[in-house]
C-alpha cells in the first residue's frame, strides 16, 4: 500500500545520501552532486504532500521552480569550479582557502 509515509521515507533516504555526500567529500563536483540530491528530496516532498493532503497542483509549481533553480545553480557552480581549476589546478575543497588568514 502506497502511502504518504513511503514517499517521505524515500525522500529521507535521498536527503541523507546528499547530506553524507556533502559533508564527507572533499571534491567540489561531488559536493554539487550532494546538493542536487538534497534539492530532489525537497521537490519530491512537495509533490507527495500536494498529492496526498490537498489534491491541487501548487506543489507541482513549487517543484518546477526548484528544478529551475537547481539548473541555474548547477550552471553557476560548475562555472566556478572550472574557473577555480584554471587558477589552482585542483578541485580539492581545502585548496579554496585564499580568504583564510
Amino acid at each position: 500500500m502506497i502511502t504518504l509515509s513511503s514517499y517521505l521515507m524515500i525522500s529521507l533516504a535521498l536527503f541523507l545520501s546528499g547530506l553524507v555526500v556533502m559533508i564527507s567529500r572533499k571534491n567540489i563536483i561531488a559536493i554539487l552532486l550532494g546538493i542536487e540530491l538534497i534539492l530532489n528530496a525537497a521537490a519530491l516532498n512537495f509533490v507527495a504532500y500536494t498529492r496526498f493532503v490537498n489534491d491541487n497542483i501548487e506543489g507541482h509549481i513549487m517543484s518546477l521552480f526548484i528544478i529551475v533553480i537547481a539548473a541555474a545553480e548547477a550552471a553557476v557552480g560548475l562555472g566556478i569550479v572550472i574557473r577555480f581549476f584554471q587558477m589552482r589546478e585542483s578541485i580539492h575543497i581545502d585548496d579554496a582557502a585564499q580568504l583564510q588568514s
Binding site: 502506497i2 502511502t3 504518504l4 509515509s5 517521505l8 524515500i10 529521507l12 533516504a13 535521498l14 541523507l16 545520501s17 547530506l19 555526500v21 556533502m22 559533508i23 564527507s24 567529500r25 572533499k26 571534491n27 563536483i29 561531488a30 554539487l32 552532486l33 550532494g34 542536487e36 540530491l37 519530491l44 509533490v47 498529492r51 496526498f52 493532503v53 489534491d55 497542483i57 501548487e58 507541482h60 509549481i61 517543484s63 518546477l64 521552480f65 528544478i67 529551475v68 533553480i69 537547481a70 539548473a71 541555474a72 548547477a74 550552471a75 553557476v76 560548475l78 562555472g79 569550479v81 572550472i82 581549476f85 584554471q86 589546478e89 585542483s90 578541485i91 580539492h92 575543497i93 585548496d95
Partner: protein, 177 residues
Amino acid sequence: MFDNILFILSASLTVVGAFSVVLTKNLMHSCVYLLAALFGTAGLYATLGADFLAATQLVVYVGGVVILMLFAVMLTGGDQDKENKFGITKVPSMGNFKTFLAGGVSALVIALVVLRLIANVAKQNPQGELPEFTSSVVAIGTKLVTDHVLAFEISSVLLLGALVGAAVIARPAKRGE
C-alpha cells in the same frame, strides 16, 4: 497494480542510486549513479500523477545537469597520481574515513529527528485514492501565468543572470591578470 510495480521499481532505483553515490569512490561513477537516482525520482513523479514534472525532471536533470556535471568532471580531471599539498588524498579526493564518520553521525542525528516527524505523519496516515489520470499540463500552465506569474518572471530573470554569470566566470583568464 501497475502503479505498485512502477512505484517499487522507481523507489528501488532512487534509493540504490542515492546510496551508490555515497559509497562509490569514483567521481565519474558517482555522476552515473546520480543519473539513476534522478531517473527513479522521475518515475516517482509519474506514480504521483505529475506527468509534466516527470518530463521536466528527465529533460532538465537527466539531459542537462548530469551532462553538465560529466563535462565538468572531464574538464577538471587533473593528474590522477599527483598528491596535493595536503598530502593525504589524491586529486579526486572522495573523502576518507574521518569525513565519512562525521557525515554518518550527522546523518544519523537528522535521520532520528526526521523519523520522529514521519511517525506523526504515519499516525494520521492521510491517503487518497489515485484519481483518474488527467494531464496536469493545462492546469500548470494556467497556474503559472495567473497565480504565480511574478515567480515565473523572476525565475526567467534568474536564469538569464545565472547563464550570463556562468559564462563570465568560466571564461579563460586574460593575459596579464
